[in-house]
């Protein structure tokens, strides 16, 4: 019981330390979204283009892998080790991050979407040559949110797995990834087979099926990424 309590406290402090680390990450995300919003409504001649929801997804898909590359590095991992924090807790906290960060980013993009709409309403009353249309339905919004979430989680999970291996076995991972990339570029059959596999995964008759496929890939990534961290040496 005492041990469980101390583990729980250690987990809480570990998550708190990640929360402190990720405040600046979230600040950068908000900065990019604000820049996109301002450039769209103040500088663009048409104010059309992708709205904040899609921009949030794309932004998150770039930022989440960067965050995963940072947190899996040896120096960052070793910084988090203190008494009671073990490898399992570390991996668990990473998984929590991969699951929670996309929700925060997507919810933030919803906030920016409302800000965009508010700015559009103001522009509508202030100028006579500005118009806007709400091209969202309840269904498309929920499906889009769920799919965007799982895609971000999946991309985050795969990056986490690759870099968990990379920082522990640099040469072996570089050789495997390098061979894969070169084969993708130079071997037509391999490229076609890989693209067919991607098609097979992405082509789904229903959003629920696609969600399940991405969830399965994420789970596999978590399992494979756990191996090198479990085995890593902590001095």
């Amino acid at each position: 019981m005492l041990s469980q309590n101390s583990r729980l406290r250690a987990m809480k402090s570990l998550l708190y330390s990640y929360y402190v680390d990720f405040k600046s990450f979230y600040g950068i995300y908000i900065g990019i979204m604000t820049g996109l919003l301002l450039s769209k409504l103040a500088l663009s001649s048409s104010a059309s283009g992708s709205s904040s929801l899609s921009a949030g997804l794309v932004n998150g898909m770039f930022m989440l892998p960067i965050a995963m590359i940072i947190i899996t590095s040896n120096s960052e991992l070793l910084k988090k080790f203190s008494f009671h924090v073990d490898r399992n807790m570390l991996v668990f906290s990473h998984i929590i991050l991969i699951l929670v960060l996309p929700v925060i980013m997507l919810l933030t993009s919803c906030g920016f979407h409302l800000l965009e709409t508010l700015a559009a309403e103001i522009a509508l009353t202030a100028t006579g040559n500005f118009f806007y249309t709400w091209v969202i339905t309840k269904d498309s919004f929920l499906v889009g949110f769920a799919l965007s979430y799982i895609i971000m989680v999946c991309v985050g999970g795969i990056t986490w797995m690759v870099f968990a291996w990379f920082y522990r076995h640099k040469i072996a991972t570089s050789v495997v990834c390098g061979t894969f990339l070169l084969a993708l570029i130079y071997l037509r059959n391999f490229r076609d087979a890989f693209l067919n596999l991607i098609n097979l995964i992405v082509y789904s008759p229903s959003p629920g099926m696609l969600f399940l496929k991405f969830s399965a890939i994420t789970l596999i990534s978590f399992a494979v990424g756990y191996i090198p961290i479990k085995r890593m040496e902590v001095k």
């Binding site: 104010a47 040559n129 806007y132």
Partner: protein, 158 residues
């Protein structure tokens, strides 16, 4: 202090999700906004009704979107959706510049040129673009159009 900021931000984020959801119509209401009855005519051109003819829209209507429809009418009409935020139909009546001219020799083809002499801005509050990988949502989103070009039944539009 820090804790309260986190709680306030969390509530704001959840509220923004809820608001976007509540502000969005369901699929049926959304589609109802883009039925032909919701479009008003702002420009019309008398055209010959004999034989099979073709209309080419030769200019871009950017930043707006248009769809085409064959109807039981005796002229080519440009219609504007009434459900767009702001008085778009009133604005277009005053500012839309549309010209229809026949292509010489056969006179079977007509070129339709649409332009907006004054700078005009249009913002589309779109959903997540990823939903377009599904045919259903792709077709649903494509129903949205600010302009509709209606042609008589014996006309094709390209």
């Amino acid at each position: 202090m820090n804790k309260w900021i986190v709680i306030a931000v969390s509530i704001a984020l959840v509220l923004s999700f809820t608001l976007v959801y509540l502000l969005s119509p369901n699929d049926a209401d959304y589609l109802a906004r883009y039925t032909p009855e919701n479009y008003v005519t702002v420009a019309a051109f008398d055209v010959p009704l004999d034989g099979n003819r073709i209309v080419d829209v030769v200019s871009s209507v950017f930043p707006f979107h248009f769809k085409t429809l064959k109807m039981d009418i005796d002229r080519i009409e440009i219609r504007i959706n009434r459900n767009i935020s702001g008085d778009l139909s009133g604005y277009m009546r005053e500012n839309l510049k549309a010209e229809l001219y026949p292509v010489p020799v056969t006179y079977e083809r007509f070129n339709l040129e649409i332009s907006f002499p004054r700078p005009v801005r249009n913002y589309m509050a779109e959903t997540f673009g990823i939903v377009r990988i599904f045919d259903h949502y792709n077709e649903l989103m494509r129903e949205h159009a600010e302009l509709m070009i209606c042609v008589p039944m014996n006309y094709e539009i390209e």
